[in-house]
Each structure stands twice: as C-alpha cells, then as structure tokens.
C-alpha cells in the first residue's frame, strides 16, 4: 500500500458503534480473532504439558518476557508515539533494584515490587521530564544515551552493582513458607502477568487516557487545542511503560537469578522496538506476534546463520518499506483483512479524534 499521511485517518465513531451492535459471528474477522485468542491462551497454558523440557520452558519464559517488554514499549511508541531507543534501561533498573535489595539487604522478592515501581517512576521522570517537552528526535537520542548510561553505571559501579560480573544468587519468589522454585512455575507466573497485560493494556488504551495518547501521537497541536495537557499525557505513557519494563526486569532477574550489564545493551532495546514495529505499532496481537518472531527467530536461525542480526536489519527495512504499519496493523482486525480505514482515504483533511480502534474491541 502506498504510504501517505492520509493513512492515519481514523474511522468516524458512528461506524464503530454500528459495528459493535452488529450480530456476533464466529466466522467474521472478529470471530476468527477471538478464536485465535482462545487458541493462543490454551496453547500457552498447555505448553508445559506438551513438552516440559527445560529448553522449551526456558525459551517459552524468555518469549513471554519479551512479549511483556514489547507490550510496555507499545504503550510508549505505539499509543503515545514517543520513540524510546533505550527501553531496556528500565528493564535493567527493575532487574537491578530487585536483585540488589534481595541479595544485599535480604528483602523477600515480593517486597521489592514497590521499590522497583518507585525506581522506574523516578527514572522515567528524570529522563522524560526534561525531554518530553522537546522535539521527538531529542527523546530518541536521549533515551539511547540513557540506555548507555544505565549500562555503563551498572558496569562500573562495582560496590553496588557488582561490576561486569553482575549480581548473582537472586532468590526466587516466596510467600510465607511457600517458594516458587520450579521453572514451570515461573512460566505460569509470566503467563499470568502477560494475560494481565493483554487484557489490561487495550482497556487502558480505550479509556480517556488512551484516547489522549493517540490524539497526541496523531497531532500534538490539535490535541492541545482540544484541551489535552500533552506534557502530562506523554509523561504518563512514558512512566507506565517504564514501570511495566521494570516489573518485567524483576521477573527476568528472579527467573534467571543473575543480572549482568551485558544483558542490557542497545541491541536488546532495538530488538524490543523491532518487535513492536514488525508486529504493528499500537496493535496488541501484532506486538505479540512481533515479540514471538524476535525471540524464536534467532533461536531457529542459530544453527543456520551466525550473523542473524544482519537478517534482522534487512527484515526491519523490508517491513518498513513494504508494510509500514507492521505485519498485523492496528487498523485491521486480522493481518490479511482489508484496512478498515481505506474507504475514508479520499477525505482531504485528516480527522483527528476518535474513540474506536478495531483491535481494542475484542480480547486478544
């Protein structure tokens, strides 16, 4: 599809309401999406029963953590339109905060959750605060710089972060006398958080705040004229994304029980961004698809081709040029279904406000 500014067109609200009232059918696009969603959930729960080998479960948990990260970045990039190139920094903040508090101060894992949230909020305000008022490219480069700062600090601040060898022996989750120690339990833990995200984030996007995000993304000046405080709106998205990544980091830290600076390089941020972009910015099923591609892709390619990141670079370019809205765009219900907004594409002036987005209407 040719790209032009008009593809940002949004459906007039009336069409959305009409669609919601239409009779539900399992063979319609929305029906198929619902079936896919159910199959996905059943598969995720059934995977440990089909194959409970350590490799499968570990890979599964890794994929789940990537999906979590991608869902969080989707709020920042997909909904609010803020390009964050150092997203993994918040992941690192979460992982290090929980790692340091549990190993050095002996806190139980669950008790570090408020600390993780607090640290991520602080980090989000420190980075977002000054830069969100500026042009969006500045945010991109500052977040990239911030990612590097966090990594270098983790690497050099030996007394606290353990330097290049990191923190090891991070304990598991324990509630009273009950400790999660089996690898499968982590997997289910990740599944639960993921389901929370899958159902919660689209709800969030559908509410007043979510609509404000999209308005700011589509046209900041128009949004401001409509009475939206663009700065607060952007920083809220940024902080929600940061906290989400921090919690994913905590899950990761307790899952592999080690945090090292080398897991938080720019490549990781780029991979998560790639998941969001390849899948489709602002589209929850798309982002999940993208995250699965980036986790399983390198695993499948591992034996075949050493230099898999070259393939990723090419993939990113091809997707951007051929399918700029991603494999599963937020504007169509299924990857192959017709773009819902095509019939509006002839309108000259873009309509900016909307409260309907097809992908929010059905659970994913």
């Amino acid at each position: 599809m040719p790209i032009d500014a008009k593809t940002n067109l949004l459906l007039p609200p009336t069409t959305g309401q009409a669609r919601a009232k239409a009779k539900f059918s399992w063979t319609s696009d929305h029906g198929i999406l619902r079936i896919l969603g159910i199959v996905g959930i059943v598969f995720v729960f059934a995977l440990p029963l089909i194959n409970s080998g350590n490799y499968t479960i570990q890979l599964g948990t890794q994929a789940l953590i990537y999906i979590l990260l991608a869902l969080g970045l989707n709020v920042v990039v997909g909904y609010a339109g803020l390009l964050d190139l150092g997203y993994v920094a918040f992941f690192a903040v979460g992982a290090y905060t929980s790692g340091i508090l549990t190993t050095r101060l002996g806190w139980p894992m669950w008790a570090t959750i408020p600390a993780v949230i607090l640290m991520c909020v602080i980090a989000g305000i420190v980075i977002g605060g000054p830069t969100l008022r500026l042009r969006s490219d500045y945010l991109a480069i500052v977040t990239l710089g911030f990612g590097e700062i966090i990594r270098i600090v983790a690497q050099n601040w030996e007394p606290v972060t353990g330097g290049p060898s990191g923190i090891f022996g991070i304990p598991s989750w324990s509630f009273g006398g009950f400790t999660l120690n089996k690898i499968q339990l982590y997997y289910f833990c990740a599944v639960v958080v993921l389901l929370l995200g899958c159902f919660g984030i689209p709800r969030l996007a559908k509410g007043k705040l979510g609509r404000a995000w999209k308005a700011v993304r589509d046209d900041e000046d128009a949004a401001e004229a409509m009475g939206i405080n663009t700065y607060t709106t952007k920083i809220t998205a940024y902080i929600i994304g940061a906290v989400w990544a921090g919690l994913a980091g905590q899950l990761q830290a307790s899952f592999i029980s080690v945090v090292t600076p080398s897991s938080f390089v720019f490549l990781q941020s780029a991979l998560v961004l790639m998941a969001v972009v390849i899948g489709g910015m602002g589209s929850v099923p798309g982002v999940i698809l993208g995250a699965i591609i980036i986790t399983l892709g390198p695993e499948l390619l591992r034996d075949v081709w050493e230099n898999r990141y070259l393939a990723f670079g090419i993939l990113l370019l091809v997707v951007m040029l051929a399918r700029p809205k991603g494999l599963w765009p937020s504007t169509s219900v299924l990857p192959w279904s017709r773009d819902k907004r095509d019939h509006d594409a002839k309108v000259e002036t873009p309509a900016k406000s909307h409260d309907y987005d097809p992908q929010e209407e059905v659970p994913s």
Binding site: G145, L310, G313
Partner: protein, 311 residues
C-alpha cells in the same frame, strides 16, 4: 590542563566532522539519520581494504593516505546517496517515526553487513597507512619518536595537528559551499521550506542527494582518519561515535553548521575534562548526562533556532 584542552579539541574535531553530516541531513529533511555513524565506520573499513588491496600503495608513502581518502570519499558518499534513495526517499511523506525506525534498520544493516564481510574481530590498520609512522623520527636507539609541537605547557603531535588542520579546512570549505554557491543556496532554501523551494524551481531530490553525498563523505573522511590515527577499527565503532556526534550536533544547535563544529569541539573538551576528573570509564556517562542537563536548560542548542516539528 593545557594538554587536557588540546586533547579535547582533537577528539572534538572528529565529533565535529561527523556532527556536520548529521546536522546537514537533519537541517534539510528533518531526519535523524541513525546510519550516519555507521557510514563513518564503513569509511574506515574501505580505507583499510584499499591499503591492503591496491598493489604498490605502500610505495606512495603518505600519499597512500590521500588515495584512500579519495576512494573512501567516493564510496561513502555514494553509499549515503543510495541509502537516501532506497530507504528514506520512499518514506519522505510517511510519519517521522517510520523513517526513524527505517534509519535504525539501516544502521543495523550496515553494522552487521560489515561484520559479515570483514568479520567480528577488531581489524588492525595496515602499517603502510599509519599516520603516526609517517610523522615520526627514529631516535638513536631505533625506537620511533613522534614529532610534536609544544603549545604552552602541553603538546600536540604532528599527526594530531594534521587531523585538526584537515578538519578545520573541510569545515571552512563546507561553510563556503553552503554559504556562497548556488547549490548551497538550494540546500538552505529546502531546509527553510521544501515545497516553496520546489515551486521556485529547485531540484529537491538532486539537492537532498547532494546533501547526503557531502555528509556521508565527511563521515568517510573522519573514518579514514580515525583508522589512520588509532590503528584499530571495529564494526561497532560507529554506534557510540555517531551517538556522540549527534549529541554534539544537538549541543551546538541542530541544523546549524557552525553549531555542529562548535558542539563537536565543546563535547570533546567536556569529555576530556570529565576523563581527568572522573576517570576514563565514566567519560560516556559524563557526555550523556551533560546532554540531558543541557537540553533542560537550552533545548535549542548554542546556536540553534526554534524549529517547528514536522508531523
């Protein structure tokens, strides 16, 4: 202290050369070209390959450097033009985010493409192209001694001086080109208003290609000089240096050529001072923290003007 300042100016001249390309491209199409730092790296690899592959290049002495500079300018410039034509031009009216992400993809492609061809290990710069070897004398014990010029209580080696001079000459030439020639005027016109410029008969595509050629060629020059001076290159070296160069461009005021030079030198000085105060491992942190602080105080940069955001 003089030495710290001199070192800072020297490193800053690298940043300035790369920042110029960033700033030019940003000024004209408001695109943050993430692949720019990797073009710098690509330039260094081209230079290295030429030193190895061209027969008899060693007999040219320091002329060999001139030859590889020329080859590198042509090839990196062409690469820049190709990148623009293939990846950025089709997306010129697309949302900014798509173009930015395409640029990130291009950066990946260049980095790992180079890794695929030349391998993942750092490559030693061939000994027939090391700047310090040309500009040194052999003392009585047979050890090579770098020639240097004392400046107050510090000193610059000849090779540092050559690179500094080269950077200054290139920047002056570029400033003249942009300020005084017909093509330069076309560039400034497009930067102000692309549509109006095209209505006035400016060939927009050709001018943007020219900007990419010049910007990339300067990055290529910086790459060759980096290799010739530091004697080792890696496929990821463009990432951090590109990041720093962008920082420099922002500090100076992005879109402004003098700003890019000033920002580059400022950043070099800051880093040099930061290294002395805090130690080498913190110098990157110092640079980025400074960037964040600077943006809160003066978001337009030292010489920049407020630019309206394109959607």
């Amino acid at each position: 202290m003089t030495q710290v300042i001199l070192n800072g100016l020297f490193v800053g001249s690298f940043y300035a050369l790369i920042a110029l390309g960033y700033s030019m491209v940003y000024g004209i199409i408001k695109l943050l070209n993430f692949a720019h730092g990797d073009i710098f790296m690509f330039g260094a690899y081209i230079g290295m390959t030429c030193l190895v592959a061209i027969p008899g290049i060693g007999s040219l002495g320091i002329g060999a450097l001139a030859v590889i500079l020329l080859v590198s300018i042509v090839l990196t410039g062409t690469t820049g033009v190709l990148i623009e034509a293939l990846a950025y031009r089709p997306l010129r009216t697309a949302p900014r985010l798509s173009v930015l992400i395409t640029a990130v993809g291009m950066s990946f492609f260049l980095e790992y493409g180079v890794r695929q061809i030349w391998g993942p290990d750092p490559q030693p710069w061939p000994s027939n192209g090391r700047l310090s070897d040309f500009l040194s004398t052999t003392d009585a014990t047979g050890a090579k001694q770098q020639l240097s010029v004392p400046i107050f209580d510090g000193a610059l080696t000849y090779s540092q001086l050559v690179i500094l001079a080269f950077a200054v000459v290139l920047m002056a030439a570029l400033a003249l080109y942009i300020g005084k020639t017909r093509e330069g005027r076309a560039m400034r016109a497009i930067a102000l208003d692309q549509r109006a410029a095209s209505l006035m008969g400016v060939n927009v595509n050709a001018t943007i290609s020219r900007v990419f050629f010049i910007g990339s060629a300067m990055a290529g020059v910086a790459g060759v000089m980096h290799g010739a001076y530091y004697s080792s290159i890696t496929f990821l070296m463009g990432f951090l240096l590109g990041l720093k160069a962008f920082t420099a461009a922002v500090i100076g005021g992005i879109g402004n050529l003098y700003g890019a030079m000033l920002g580059g030198l400022t950043l070099g000085l800051l880093e040099s001072i930061g290294t002395t105060l805090l130690g080498g491992e913190w110098k990157d942190v110092f640079a980025f923290v400074f960037l964040i602080l600077f943006l809160t105080v003066k978001p337009t940069g030292i010489l920049g003007e407020r630019v309206v955001e394109r959607m």
